[in-house]
Symmetry: C2
Subunit: 383 residues, 2 copies
């Protein structure tokens, strides 16, 4: 099953409620897939349909209340949530807003505040016009930003959460191991992407929300493109990057291969990225900041006289492909045990040619624990 024991959700709610009390929030409103699932355990791919809004409300005390379209009632009833309010969505005119306002008005005094993620990296998953109506209905109650509170709480993973990320990392590792079997000279990149997704599923991924990559002579141009039909050619570097999911948790890492023996500069770039990742691993300890880990990796690349590629050199990962902190010079977030992050250094070898590495780790007391099978210091060769 996809859910955790009820104790996991109660712990999450308690932590959030502690933060709510400190911030003077009388209720917390969440609207996105990950936030709602974090509170309730509600897991479905139905979020792919943008038509209907979904809400969960966490009171100052006690369990969350689900305020959701009727189509989700049966599935929500399998979670630990007892208080489930539904409306027949889509319903033009009042698509859940009246019901939600009623729930919030019952929990938040007129002088009180509703916490809602509004800050960096957050999104409101309901129509803006409906939110305006909701604010109007709830006035004079205030809305206050809760993006930081939720991000900070979600950032520290429990052992059951870490186990899921470890499992999907292992699944992806086995899929990466199968790449030489189908990524051969002359095979179109689109076919390779397809076979890679098949390998991920076959090895045990529940679904594959993210695959990107690239291939080009001695490096690739970017890291977010979908596949072209260009056949793999001798001298190419191939990169595949995946965010696959097991029981609702993501891995996010990539691997590189050389088609035939790599050029000297390509081999050097691979070795340098391996060394940069080692430096990142060594720096990723409790008390260090995201910026410290960024600098530890960036320093290795700069000292070798190379230009870095990619804006940030890593980020949090868990219920979303990317979440929480960014490994940049500006992010002073302090690392704490239980945080799961990626280390993602890159080198711009030349115009339109880069090489990017990525590993997933969990911060532990002392040295970090690697969740991904470590990439080799020398590029594996495809035939």
């Amino acid at each position: 099953m996809s859910g955790f024991p009820e104790s996991e959700y109660r712990r999450r709610c308690k932590t959030l409620q502690g933060g709510m009390k400190a911030s003077g929030l009388d209720a917390l409103l969440v609207t996105t897939e990950a936030d709602l699932r974090y509170l309730t355990g509600f897991l479905t791919r139905f979020w792919e349909s943008p038509t209907r809004p979904w809400f969960a409300v966490l009171p100052a005390k006690g369990a969350p209340i689900a305020v959701i379209p009727g189509i989700g009632a049966e599935l929500m009833a399998t979670t630990w949530i007892a208080d489930i309010r539904t409306w027949p969505a889509p319903r033009p005119g009042d698509d859940g807003v009246g019901l939600l306002a009623e729930v919030l008005a019952g929990l938040v005094p007129a002088s009180g505040a509703v916490g809602l993620p509004m800050g960096p990296a957050s999104q409101l998953r309901m129509p803006l016009a409906d939110f305006k109506t909701l604010r109007h209905r709830l006035a004079p109650r205030r809305f206050a930003d809760a993006a930081g509170l939720i991000a900070d709480t979600r950032a520290i993973k429990s052992e059951p959460e870490i186990a899921r990320i470890r499992e999907i990392c292992a699944i992806a590792g086995r899929a990466f191991d199968r790449v030489p079997g189908f990524a051969t000279t002359g095979t179109p990149l689109s076919r390779i992407f397809r076979e890679f997704q098949i390998a991920l599923l076959d090895e045990g991924a529940d679904w594959v929300p993210y695959v990107a990559g690239g291939a080009g002579p001695g490096g690739y141009g970017d890291v977010i493109s979908p596949a072209s039909d260009r056949p793999l050619a001798a001298g190419d570097v191939l990169m595949l990057d995946t965010g696959a999911v097991k029981a609702g948790y993501f891995c996010d890492y990539d691997r590189n291969w050389s088609v035939g023996k790599p050029a000297a500069e390509t081999a050097a770039a691979q070795a340098l990225l391996h060394a940069a990742t080692e430096a990142g691993l060594a720096a990723a300890r409790p008390g260090a900041t995201a910026a410290d880990v960024f600098h530890a990796m960036q320093r290795v690349i700069a000292r070798a006289g190379e230009a870095g590629a990619g804006g940030r050199l890593g980020h949090g990962v868990g219920m979303q492909l990317t979440e929480g902190l960014s490994l940049t010079a500006e992010d002073r977030t302090e690392l704490r045990p239980g945080m799961v992050i990626t280390l993602e250094p890159g080198i711009q070898i030349g115009p339109g040619r880069m090489l990017v590495h990525e590993e997933d780790i969990v911060i532990r007391d002392g040295a970090a624990e690697l969740l991904t099978p470590r990439a080799p210091a020398t590029l594996p060769i495809l035939s």
Copy 2:
């Protein structure tokens, strides 16, 4: 390649600009994957990462301007968009808001209005706090709802768009044909879901954002759940539903099977749903409303003395799994040639037991064209 010829995008922009003029909008701001891709052709799975906002602005005349994170510059440069403004995201403090405000201020007079989707089924994909800053920076310029304008424009598909939906429907049809090969008695539903996704990819889908389904004695409990590990058993009805993607366009339809000979009431439900879909097909002509098609299907089910299942009996489909109109009693949207919709009648056979059918069609002058291989009137049998 994933893009259309430039003429396709110019046509879209011209249609939108006609609507903007009629509504007094000086620019149109879009923030979601589908809307941005509709204007630009920018196709990437990188939207899976919620960290960075992406913007496109359509002026009253001329081509769109992309205002995007630097990580997307190389890929955006492969589209027809010439004016690409980037910032190094994520950048706490100003994650693109200053740049976006500058672009909009240059296009919209102080007394003017920015169109932004705010109405039903829309979402603003940027932090609410950043939107507040943007509004403040642009004051006294107004923001006006453009959800209807964009939805109406996107609803009428061009022949190249229809060709893509037809292709992914055919791909899914071949994958559905393979189901009896792996959905056998004793196989866990989770394995069936995995094998079905593999079949979709192997038959040519680029990726599989949505798979749902269910299996249970004589029917299933809901239609949005992920797979459990329960083994398929004799007497079960199995349903698989997919939104798979080819070149950025979705199919959305399902198929049902009986494990062994179906009970009489199950067989009757299948025949009734087939008949209801036929009635929907016959009603789906230009000039009819969404409500007319809903009633045509609902009438067949009600006359047989059965209870309908599912809130709406179909919806638009295209760049998103669900988009545009809903086949409900309330939706008076008039059908027009080029609209692609699903027909999705359902029957509640008993408590926790339903049966749902789905086909994808395109509205034509005269009779609608079926894009999916038509489901049979009798349940196919699994062994």
